[in-house]
């Protein structure tokens, strides 16, 4: 062919070769000398990978001259008879190598006609596909390869159960002897298996419609695997029989290996007859024996058979192993015995099995060994699959399955995963199985094993629309076909979509029917891959959730109409407790022909799933209904939910896990707008807040104070909601939440102060400067939702003002300020948690005047102050009023609080008060270990300890001077006043307790300082504290442990020197 080098270069490219020089030199090879170059090149276009095909062809010709017979000139522009061979060599290196290694089997291409099509019936339609080989025929061929008789007694057609077992024929057993050893049988079995695989691959690659043929390919692959198991069992049995005979030194009578009934149950893909070209074969073994035989001996025999079978299929031998036989799905997994009796299986599944084990059983089918026993097994066990939806934990299992649909294994190659990636096969399989489990209990037609049949039945039973069924079935076949082709190439267990262009082209060609004259482009395949994945990823929502709407909503005709029972079954499986009400809410949300209803119909299916992820799906759905009703026509609302799945998911999450936010949202529904926009979820800085509040006040200065303060309080409520939503969306940590809430309260206080001043100074003229000082947790800016404000009021007479007049005005101002913040407004601010101001920490407590002059404070602190008042001042922080006055007052305060260490008597006093607070303030009957504020290791333990150290050491170490707990604690570690380890224990507990307080408020909408004890409340709080679903018990233990450790540190450090 050398004379045609110039022309053939173009022909080489047209044939799809990548390495032209190499290809050209191969074409010069002696082996190809007799062939017509142009005809050969045209034939080569059929090869997915022509470079590979050509080399394999040369090597094959060297070994098997008979192959030349397919290259006969029949007048066409290509060698028509060689097409199957070239397609095989182009698509599968491994199978090409097999033919080279075992050239006896080239009759598969020289004698047979893999391209012959026959007519099969699928779904009542006649389709034209390549031939199929029946499972019995495959079994016969593989058994005869190991010299066993397929008509042996234990297999099929052998009477009912009542036949006397002594009449049973011997089960198929390999005829081993010195010339045909176990090793020989092993090799023979594997060669026979590979021959069938090669034949099947040839037929598959020649299929005119490979998608139509795909399920039949999977059937044949499964049957072939089953036949291999049967043949391997025949060898294992022979081996065991011979060993038994040697042991007994007699050859008379039937050995246990022949008498025992032993069945292999196929699980997973093999069980469902949807196996791919190469995969682990999941099995479970079951045995049953004559009553006169010891159970231990039986079990030993069964395990020997199982072990032998695995070895004969998979272990090293002159012909490589086939695949792994994986028995790990058996009861108790790896720890369980390899084979069990039927009774033992039955007992296990009745008593011990977990939900997922039933799920695995869904695909179980007897595949090899005793058919009678296998059938008995299925009869005994399979029904339990379908009752598992009534079992405990079914909902949790479903939840876990649902999560697995969405949570894919993080992997750099996740985009290329045909099986596990988003939009991969697993998505389809899970969705289908889930529906089967939910509805299969009442509808027996759904009790089928394989995905395609199940999809079909789901559509027939009206659980799925027929257009969805068609789409799902098509996508499934497409993915499986790609998977088959990818695996076939090297016969490796891979599910990775190729990346390189040439591999993509090869895959596209291998997946296409023969006779494509134009080589497909890589991008087209990429595009198709993306399209299929996108479509598959939408199935779950489309098929599981969407029909929930259809019982009531007006849908288009091609959508499925679920019965109300079926819809309620699905809702219950999702965890909705009151399915009837849920149906009502869904109906109200989706009925009608308005645009609103249309949009809701589009978004609700997904949201139903998200609600189900929360602790209270029913509450979430109800809250969504209310919110939707109060938002009425607002166009942005539905647009946002429709266009932003982040917003819709956040909203669902919030509504189903927070009463607090749901209530607030109901009153200011327009705030839902933030959900779609992270930037609007950033808490406003104080300056921004104050600017807004003050400009509102400016505008309304002329009105009475009512209107102005109402606007201020609306701002406060809005900002609290903003912080809560940001918190719920995971954008803030607890310390940021505390700080942000404190800023909001500060702005509100400042607004109220200005309104009060305007009113009062307008009436009687200005006599004072005034200051509000926050105390307690407000002072430390570490509050939670719904905290009140501890405050001190300070005033100073302005120049020339009479001090008694000033005093009087200050009292009036303080009272007015308080009232403005907490009295109901007109019209009311709906859903508000008003800021309660508590001035009880003032000198002389409730007996003293609300506000004191700065001189009076100075005097009081010099003369009368008790040590606890000094301690309280540690957290003083001016929040509103005259800056100048603040400076003067804080000067006095700093002198007091950061003064010399308290005397030992005073320290004793502090310790005593703390002990008294613990025993007296704790509500009656409260469990101290669960009280976050006053309880064991709770907030007050940490805070009192920090404050005690501040009192003792802040004079010496200015670093300790801060009103906030954690910064003070950090400074103490820096100054080596507290060991880092102790500080961490304290800080952990403090943070956890603070978080729990917030979480309780946010979940229930009520303020409580007690760790909830009902499981549901605890679960909700646990999730707000970052624990995963089902973490309630772990969280409770974590809380108790954290606070106990904190208490130990507290006791050591707080009372330390007393002991």
């Amino acid at each position: 062919m050398s004379e045609s080098t110039q022309t053939s270069r173009r022909a080489l490219i047209a044939a799809g070769f990548q390495e032209l020089d190499r290809a050209a030199s191969f074409l010069d090879d002696d082996q190809l000398r007799d062939l017509d170059a142009s005809r050969l090149l045209t034939t080569m276009r059929e090869a997915a990978n022509p470079d590979q095909a050509l080399l394999l062809l040369i090597r094959l010709l060297e070994r098997a001259d008979a192959v030349r017979s397919v290259f006969t000139d029949d007048g066409e522009d290509h060698y028509a008879d060689a097409v199957p061979l070239i397609r095989l060599l182009g698509a599968s290196q491994a199978l090409g190598e097999f033919l080279i290694r075992r050239p006896d089997h080239v009759d598969l291409v020289t004698e047979a006609d893999p391209g012959r099509h026959v007519s099969e019936v699928e779904d009542g339609h006649s389709i034209s596909v390549p031939e199929t080989v029946a499972s019995e025929e495959l079994r016969r061929r593989l058994l005869s390869a190991v010299r066993a008789d397929a008509a042996g007694g234990d297999g099929d057609g052998d009477g009912g159960r009542d036949g006397d077992e002594d009449d049973d024929a011997v089960p198929p057993t390999a005829a081993l002897d010195d010339d045909f050893t176990v090793k020989d049988a092993t090799v023979a079995l594997r060669i026979a298996y590979r021959r069938e695989i090669t034949a099947l691959a040839l037929r598959d690659l020649c299929a005119e419609d490979p998608l139509a043929y795909q399920p039949l390919v999977s059937h044949q692959l499964s049957d072939l695997a089953a036949a291999a198991l049967d043949a391997a069992l025949a060898v294992a049995r022979a081996e065991r029989r011979d060993r038994e005979r040697r042991g007994e030194e007699s050859e008379s009578g039937r050995t246990l290996a022949e008498r025992i009934e032993f069945a292999v149950i196929g699980m997973g893909k093999c069980g469902a007859r949807e196996l791919n070209f190469i995969s682990d074969v999941d099995v479970i073994y079951v045995h049953r024996g004559p009553d006169d035989v010891d159970a231990g001996l039986l079990s030993e025999t069964a395990i020997a058979l199982a072990g032998g079978l695995t070895r004969i299929i998979g272990s090293a031998a002159p012909e490589p192993g086939l695949w792994e036989v994986d028995a790990n799905l058996r009861p108790e997994g790896k720890d369980g015995p390899l084979s069990r009796t039927l009774d033992s299986h039955r007992e296990y599944y009745r008593r011990w099995a977990h939900g997922w084990e039933f799920q695995a059983l869904l695909k179980a089918r007897p595949v090899a060994g005793s058919r009678r026993l296998g059938d008995d097994y299925i009869e005994a066990i399979w029904p339990q699959v379908w009752t598992s939806s009534q079992q405990e934990g079914f909902v949790e299992n479903v939840q876990r399955m649902r999560r697995r649909v969405f949570e894919h294994i993080p992997d750099a190659e996740v985009d290329r995963e045909i099986k596990l990636g988003s939009g991969g096969l697993r998505d389809i399989e899970f969705t289908v199985q889930l529906l089967q489990l939910v509805h299969g209990r009442v509808d027996e037609t759904l009790q089928v094993r394989d995905t395609l049949t199940a999809v079909d039945r789901l559509a027939r039973g009206e659980y799925m629309a027929s257009k969805d069924q068609e789409a799902m079935s098509a996508c499934y076949r497409r993915l499986r076909l790609w998977e088959h082709r990818v695996q076939m190439s090297q016969m490796r267990r891979t599910h990775l979509f190729p990346r390189r262009d040439e591999d993509l082209r090869a895959l596209a060609l291998a997946a296409a029917p023969p006779g494509m004259r134009k080589r497909p482009a890589a991008e087209d395949l990429q595009k198709e891959w993306r399209r299929v994945r996108r479509e598959v990823a939408s199935f779950h929502e489309q098929i599981f959730y969407r029909p929930l709407l259809s019982t009531t909503a007006v849908l288009s005709d091609d959508e499925v109409r679920l019965s109300s029972e079926a819809a309620q079954d699905r809702l219950a499986a999702l965890g909705y407790a009151d399915t009837r009400s849920a149906m009502r809410h869904i109906e109200s949300l989706t009925s009608g022909v308005t645009r609103r209803a249309t949009v809701r119909r589009r978004i609700l299916p997904m949201m139903l799933g998200w609600f189900a992820d929360g602790v209270d799906p029913d509450g979430g759905l109800l809250a969504f209904r209310r919110l939707s009703e109060s938002l009425g026509q607002s166009p942005w609302y539905l647009t946002m939910l429709r266009d932003s799945s982040v917003a819709a998911e956040r909203l669902s999450h919030i509504l189903s896990s927070s009463r607090f936010i749901a209530d607030l949202l109901e009153h200011s529904p327009e705030s839902a707008r933030w959900l779609g926009d992270d930037s609007s979820l950033t808490p406003r800085r104080f300056e921004q807040l104050w600017q807004e509040v003050s400009s509102q006040l400016d505008r309304h200065e002329k009105d009475d104070g009512q209107n102005a303060i109402r606007l201020t309080r609306l701002v406060r409520q809005r900002e609290i909601l903003r912080i809560a939503v940001a918190d719920a969306s995971g954008l803030l940590d607890q310390e940021q939440v505390g700080g942000a809430l404190a800023e909001v309260d500060r702005a509100a206080t400042l607004g109220a102060l200005r309104v009060a001043e305007n009113e009062i100074f307008a009436e009687d003229g200005r006599h004072i400067d005034f200051l509000v000082v926050a105390m307690g947790r407000q002072g430390g800016a570490e509050i939670s939702y719904g905290s009140d404000m501890d405050a001190l009021f300070v005033h100073r007479a302005v120049e020339g003002a009479d001090s008694s007049v000033a005093d009087e005005q200050a009292q009036k101002l303080a009272a007015r300020l308080t009232a403005l913040l907490q009295r109901p407004t007109k019209p009311a601010v709906k859903g508000e948690y008003p800021l309660q101001v508590d001035a009880d920490l003032r000198p002389e407590g409730r007996k003293g005047p609300l506000s004191r002059s700065v001189e009076s404070y100075r005097e009081y602190y010099r003369r009368w102050m008790e040590v606890w008042e000094r301690q309280a001042l540690l957290r003083a922080r001016p929040v509103a009023g005259s800056d100048d006055l603040a400076a003067e007052f804080m000067g006095i305060v700093d002198e007091v609080r950061y003064g010399p260490a308290p005397s030992s008597g005073q320290i004793r006093e502090i310790r005593r008060i703390k002990a008294r607070v613990e025993s007296e303030r704790l509500p009656r009957g409260a469990d101290p270990s669960r009280h976050v504020k006053l309880g064991r290791g709770g907030l007050s333990d940490v805070e009192w300890l920090v404050q005690l150290i501040q009192l003792e050491d802040a004079e010496e170490y200015p670093e300790l001077r801060t009103p906030s707990t954690l910064p003070a604690l950090e400074a103490m570690v820096q100054m080596e006043l507290v060991a880092a380890e102790d500080a961490e224990t304290l800080a952990d507990a403090w943070r956890l307790c603070t978080r729990v307080r917030s979480a309780v408020k946010i979940w229930t909408g009520k303020t409580s300082d007690v760790l909830p004890s009902s499981r549901r409340d605890l679960e909700a709080v646990a999730r707000w504290c970052g624990f995963g679903a089902g973490g309630a018990a772990t969280f409770e233990e974590h809380y108790l442990r954290t606070t106990r450790r904190c208490r130990q540190v507290y006791e050591r450090l707080f009372y330390g020197e007393v002991d």
């Binding site: 008593r351 009957g925 469990d927 270990s929 499981r1015 409770e1036 108790l1040 106990r1044 130990q1048």
Partner: protein
């Protein structure tokens, strides 16, 4: 309805059982019992039986007092000491919260959790208790304020026609009737003191058996007009009643404590297990020796171990590696001699096993075995040899438990706290009591 449950219902029917007692245990190990009519049993299997947990020591918080009992059908037994006319049976129960979750406060669940932990590490845990108790003439004391034993015999003494012997025979046959195998029974060192050894069984079964055992002993004694007590130390001058327990771990069917060529044939796992138990022994003494009176046994001489050490066949050690025939590798085990007969067996076994497992997990080093008689060493000698004492009083023990992360983890935070609260209350009660000893010693003198 599973087969076990069916079996129970069928037996109730066939044997015409009139009462089914549901048994469970509070934190201190007192047996609690609720009687059911046979008709109610089926419902209780599926729904559980609600009860008010707040009235049971250490069970639940006042505000969440509803709890459920779920009988374990595998523990169903006809009780032989009830009359033939009205056969009575019992089942042990797991305790659940109203949400059907295992209650954290259930002692049985505490032990089960440790056994699960052992299983996760690949071990099955077997125990074999030797339970001592005194048989007395009656519950009342004599004019000197001392209980009256039924006889005056000693260790292994055979007393012809004695009450004790008759009693033991009766007990053993009754125990066999409730399915508890007895390995050994003999007269102990004290007058009226007896020991009965239960056969090796998995730890949960053993703990259940101990609860049954105590009931059987008390019942048989009453039937014979006597009184049996498991009080740790009823007599000042006679030995206390211990519950030495042999512990063994198996990996599959192999004894994990056995190593053919090692010192005392002790495997590395066994050494680590012992090290774990010894390291934490002082921390969990308030569990294994839970009463004020327990410390009178520990420190009252006799054979009670008061110091933390181990030895090969050394009866003065807290942990003893018994002699066994070299051919019997499968029976390798270690004996913990600290527990007394009044312990809550679930919690006591949980802490010992928990400590041992911790030793294995963290690969503790075991100090050298003690060959000397620990009792005869001087304090200084013990100090020199690094032998530490067990807590001297319940108060000491509570203080050490309080700081124990191990005990908190093994018991779970809730049982841990309930236990400490309960024990502290007991100690406070005891401390204010003026004892006959004080009257006798000081009244005349001062």
């Amino acid at each position: 309805m599973d087969r076990q449950q069916e079996f129970v219902l069928r037996t109730i029917e066939e044997r015409d059982v009139r009462f089914v007692r549901l048994w469970f245990t509070d934190v201190v190990g007192s047996l609690k019992s609720v009687a059911l009519a046979p008709a109610e049993v089926e419902g209780v299997f599926s729904e559980g039986l609600g009860f008010d947990g707040s009235s049971i020591e250490g069970f639940s918080r006042v505000f969440e007092s509803d709890m459920l009992l779920r009988p374990d059908p595998s523990t169903f037994q006809i009780l032989p000491w009830r009359s033939e006319e009205e056969p009575t049976s019992r089942m042990f129960c797991d305790i659940l919260t109203p949400d059907q979750e295992i209650a954290a406060a259930d002692p049985r669940a505490v032990l089960r959790r440790q056994l699960d932990r052992a299983a996760d590490m690949g071990f099955t845990c077997y125990t074999h208790p030797e339970i001592e108790f005194y048989l007395l003439d009656s519950e009342t004391i004599d004019s000197d304020g001392v209980p009256v034993p039924v006889d005056r015999a000693g260790y292994f003494d055979h007393v012809t026609g004695s009450v004790s012997q008759d009693f033991r025979r009766h007990v053993v046959s009754m125990l066999e009737a409730v399915g508890i195998s007895v390995e050994f029974s003999h007269h102990e060192a004290g007058p009226g003191q007896n020991e009965i050894d239960l056969r090796y069984a998995d730890a949960l079964t053993t703990a259940d058996n101990i609860m049954t055992f105590r009931t059987v002993i008390k019942e048989v004694a009453v039937m014979q007009g006597k009184y049996a007590t498991f009080m740790p130390k009823p007599f000042t001058e006679h030995p206390g009643s211990g519950m030495h327990t042999h512990f063994g771990l198996f990996e599959g069917d192999a004894n994990a404590f056995y190593a053919p060529n090692a010192e005392f044939n002790l495997s590395k796992i066994a050494r680590q297990f012992i090290a774990g138990v010894l390291t934490h022994a002082a921390e969990f003494t308030s569990v294994t020796n839970q009463f004020v009176n327990s410390y009178k046994r520990l420190w009252g001489g006799g054979e009670a171990p008061s110091h933390i050490s181990w030895g090969h066949n050394n009866r003065s050690a807290l942990m003893r590696v018994p002699l066994y025939k070299p051919t019997k590798g499968g029976s390798a085990r270690v004996e913990f001699r600290g527990i007394d007969s009044a312990a809550n067996p679930y919690l006591a076994y949980a802490v010992v096993i928990g400590a041992g497992l911790k030793g294995i997990q963290e690969e503790y080093e075991l100090p050298d075995a003690i060959t000397e008689d620990v009792w005869s060493l001087t304090t200084a000698e013990r100090k020199a040899m690094g032998i530490k004492p067990l807590p001297g009083t319940l108060h000491d023990a509570i203080r050490q438990t309080e700081d124990s992360e191990l005990v908190a983890e093994v018991l779970g935070e809730q049982v841990f706290e309930n236990l400490l609260r309960n024990k502290q209350a007991e100690w406070d009660d005891y401390r204010v009591n003026v004892s006959p000893y004080e009257i006798q010693r000081y009244l005349g003198q001062i």
